[in-house]
Symmetry: C2
Subunit: 237 residues, 2 copies
Amino acid sequence: MILIADDEERDRNWLKSLLKENFADNGPIEEAHDGQQAVDQALKLKPPLVFLDIKMPHLSGIKAAEQILNALPNTGIIMLSNFSDEVYVRQLWKVVPPNGVFGYVLKNASNEQVVEATRAVLSGDCWIHPGIARVIQRTQNRATNLTTAEYEALVCIALGMTDHAIAKRLYLTEKAVQSRLKSLYAKLGIPGRGESHDTEFNQRCRAVFLSTKRGLINQSELDDWETKLAQETKAGT
Amino acid sequence: MILIADDEERDRNWLKSLLKENFADNGPIEEAHDGQQAVDQALKLKPPLVFLDIKMPHLSGIKAAEQILNALPNTGIIMLSNFSDEVYVRQLWKVVPPNGVFGYVLKNASNEQVVEATRAVLSGDCWIHPGIARVIQRTQNRATNLTTAEYEALVCIALGMTDHAIAKRLYLTEKAVQSRLKSLYAKLGIPGRGESHDTEFNQRCRAVFLSTKRGLINQSELDDWETKLAQETKAGT
DNA sequence: TATCCCTCTGGGGTAAACCCGGAAGGCAAT
DNA sequence: ATTGCCTTCCGGGTTTACCCCAGAGGGATA
């Protein structure tokens, strides 16, 4: 029994036919169309292996994985993602138990790679797509890894908030916010006003650009944050 | 004879099998792996119909279409895209001849939609994916459509440039840059400092956020702009 | 021709974003 | 406990981005 959760029909079909060819003895293949269905199906059917697309309506693949692993820690999880976004690796690291079994494959992976990953997870190993190896490296590097404080500030400026608005929202001084931003700029390697005379940057926008480029943040995540923000400010007033 | 240009093997195979099933009498199906190959193949084979993925290495689908249409104006073009990004519609509108024959389908289209689009273009009609209908509407709406000047400014702030840097680059006054930005903010509907007391925004970052959300700009386009920028500044000094 | 819109220009002001140094707190090491 | 290190926070300054006003030239439309 293998469960596939993906909102795109084409990807589901592709994966299903691939699994049917190579893993016919692992029982039937079930499908889910969003994160919530994936959790429901997983808790009911208790499959040993679940494929989860990261970007799904209602409930992201990460959160679905969290809920599934809470109830059934021995479930093997293979995440599917379109991009090697650092946001996701970052979140996933917090969710997966230290010795959990999981795989991470990009959607542009070859068929062989997917089969390999599936085989690995089924036999209790992990399989990480080579494309995100350096991303994981970066999340563990002191000089470039962002702290939670810096990450919060990053999300806020990416949404277009002012220092004052960020301060009010996070219960900080404006100075504290600026301090966070300052260290954020430093870690992203953005030159200040004095240095690097040939290229002038608006650090705030530059930080957003570079972070998006490196996959520290991405649009769909930001959209989630924005709706969350709108709800809280509505409740707050 | 039908030519398919896409850098993703999976998408090529999907499209190829789909075409073979439904359009077997249209001759063989040729493939290209990037934009440059697509142009070369098209000029050599002169196929009546070409599928072009927008996001390809070396040469984007848009530019490939431009070159192909320059040499063979009667070629039918069907663009493939992952997202309903306004940038592309914007560019495509300039490239395609007024009465040119083309289609635009998103990659999450159903098989039926692709067949429909193919049939339409082969018989001399256009086929536009419903998902981007409103985008096209927006590109023709006075109040929300961005002018070239505003678009240039948008790209620059998205890259993280300061007013001064933008002015120097576009040979303008800082005042002119600010003027462009002001009208840009207005069209995006971003409130200024005085108005809307509950929500404060850094207009600059907010503009980038909203534009990305609405598909006016996207990361891969910005990356292209940045390399172009780096080259020109290198040549300029 | 008259009208509209876009764009650039100018002066002059306010508030926000950024720079400097310094100091309180947690954490690890020895 | 002391020393170091890092993160986070604070205060006093400078620069940049944004605001309001008004006006003029170019281009398209009618």
